[in-house]
Symmetry: C2
Subunit: 442 residues, 2 copies
Amino acid sequence: MSVIPPRTLKGFRDYLPETMAVREQVIETARRVCRSFGFAPIDTPALEYSEILFGKGGEESDRQMYRFEDHGGRDVAMRFDLTVPLARFAAQHVRQLGTPFKRYHVGPVWRGENTQRGRYREFVQFDFDSIGTESLLADVETLVVVHDLFAALGFERFTIHFNNRSILNGLLEKLGLESEAVAVLRALDKLPKIGPQRVSDELHHTAGTSAEQAKSILALAELTGSNDEVIAALPEIVGDSSQAQKGLAAIEEVLSGVRASGIPEERIKVDVSIARGLAYYTGTVYETFLGDLPDIGSVCSGGRYDDLASLYTKQRLPGIGGSLGVDRLIAAIEELGMVDASAAAADVFITLFVAERVGDYLSLAAELRSAGFSVELYPESRKLGTQIKYADRRGHRLAVIIGENEWASETAQIKVLATGTATEVPLSELAQRCRNLLEEAG
Amino acid sequence: MSVIPPRTLKGFRDYLPETMAVREQVIETARRVCRSFGFAPIDTPALEYSEILFGKGGEESDRQMYRFEDHGGRDVAMRFDLTVPLARFAAQHVRQLGTPFKRYHVGPVWRGENTQRGRYREFVQFDFDSIGTESLLADVETLVVVHDLFAALGFERFTIHFNNRSILNGLLEKLGLESEAVAVLRALDKLPKIGPQRVSDELHHTAGTSAEQAKSILALAELTGSNDEVIAALPEIVGDSSQAQKGLAAIEEVLSGVRASGIPEERIKVDVSIARGLAYYTGTVYETFLGDLPDIGSVCSGGRYDDLASLYTKQRLPGIGGSLGVDRLIAAIEELGMVDASAAAADVFITLFVAERVGDYLSLAAELRSAGFSVELYPESRKLGTQIKYADRRGHRLAVIIGENEWASETAQIKVLATGTATEVPLSELAQRCRNLLEEAG
């Protein structure tokens, strides 16, 4: 019989152990940091009613979604983000859960998008949100979570850029362009990519701005300097709009809270060019950039919204959240060589030689595991070279080699796989010596 | 505008924080145990070509699957287990990965099954497999992984029942019923549920056995006693079939390895009634039962197969694996009251009173987090009762209460939320006192 060629769908991929180990570390770190701030985990189904995901009208975006009819004739679709399911979830369970409700949620989402530009059709998101509070303390906390998360992941150089939507809205008010807010946001969002001249052109075409208006908007977006300098320069640009003043006060309060939380000044930046394309943000908006890989764009973004779940409930649910692009972050970690090669490997690899001694090898493996090591025992009695080659490929750190002579003399050889150096030790000291060698290797 | 009623699809459900915290603990424990044996993580897509999942012919089971045509006109389906994707994955990547290949894989799977009997259409599986080795050491290790996993989850009373397919095959050979193996397996699989008489009836109808043959088969399946007694009684029942002798030798070798690994005798049981319905198992088969909840059936099962991926490659890939029913296990943990109520909660809850002191509260929260505590700071300055009620509902353990007087005198009140007792302590001793109180509470 001919075989079926093994393959994945276009835009989908397998995670092999090395990449998957990084993914597990990223997600476990994000979980740990979120939990350390009192966020609790939730999950929602991969499939939902299409009406829930797309609203009653919304046909526009449907083409990119995995939407079909199930066996019961229901119009269903696979979730395309974690925000819409959160809105549905909050509307459904908020009475039981109460507010403030702080949750994190990690899982795959699906979009049948064009796979050019390295986009995948299945990717993992990690979202966290504080729902049911308008307190700016939640905004501060969100930025501190992002900071602690990237610090915990081992990044040294990263900056969280934040802004407040009211600044731009205040300026648009002053310019008489309130009704063009979305078009302006979309144009500004492209500033880092296409530069000021083309943004100015786009503002003219999509928002109908005059050259003078575009100049004011770009003066705002291009404002740079230290956090205190930017804050000092803003009043002159945005004028006396009460909205802009509210935004400015919020920025000052958030910055002050972030500083009180001990975040180093170089990791937080008041950046009035941050727009975020999405229309539903109403207050704080932020993006996070890696100092060593600025070109990959923001690796963690989010903002404050006035009302999360108005599609599903009349209860107003304000909040603030963020979304971590797990796959983009994995790519960054791999590109920066930050992968811990032994993450998917065992501390100790035990070679197997004397078939009649299988019980002794098993017992030794169990003993080392009880002592806290991860231990892989090779399952077959083969040539040393074959076994060591296997251990090397797996990235194991130490190999414990015990043949008939060693069993007789109650000794073992420990080989540091990275260097090839071997030491003979009494079996009774094996655990301690392995610990020492692992610590030396760092 | 009227709202869209928030709801999930029939057979699907949300995980609220309390259940989700248990799920995270189960999965994290399973990951940790698997890693400690050198298993590495992988992941595969939720969607695959239908041909991959169902084979070239297989229409029979398709009705229960979520199968549809994607935008590119591809016949696709959502994975219904993790075994078929593993087979495809192994066929595709085994050259790169080499053997033995030990992987674990956790994720949701989907089946459009009847939702009576409390079945869900989306559920989480945790699978682990050792591929590319016929060594019985891999069988031993599989059972030790299962043991260590349930012990790590905190179960005291559980038993892994194992058998070897060759025992029954040998008996069938002796009885001239080799060609009826699948029908016999299916009937025996029902023994615990329907009893010997009805199994005997079914054997007669589906496998065409005589009364004498059924009696022999049931004598085997109903054999009980200590592990050594069962092993001693087997030769007489199965006769001198070479297959049965091979099975018996394998059982003895596996038992001896499990004992050498230090597994308590009461947690491992040679049980020749274990059949496992699936035809592809060829050697060791096992199921795991909880002593306090025997009726929920096996919570972790698996076995040895001769060839994992013959649909996708001509390379023979023997191996052994297991599958943990995560959702069944969560239900068991909840039913047995083993849930750690504070799993989704923070160690320390900080109430907020003095709005002008927000920076001090934030700084204190950051300090306690640096000291290793998980800390939730209430985001709004509200009545004490409101804040404490929130902390109680969240399951937080300690509340730290600091008002204007306490800030002035550099003190704090620590309230143990479970008992309501409060202590006043100097701020400089806060971390240490919180640690003591958390340790006392256990």
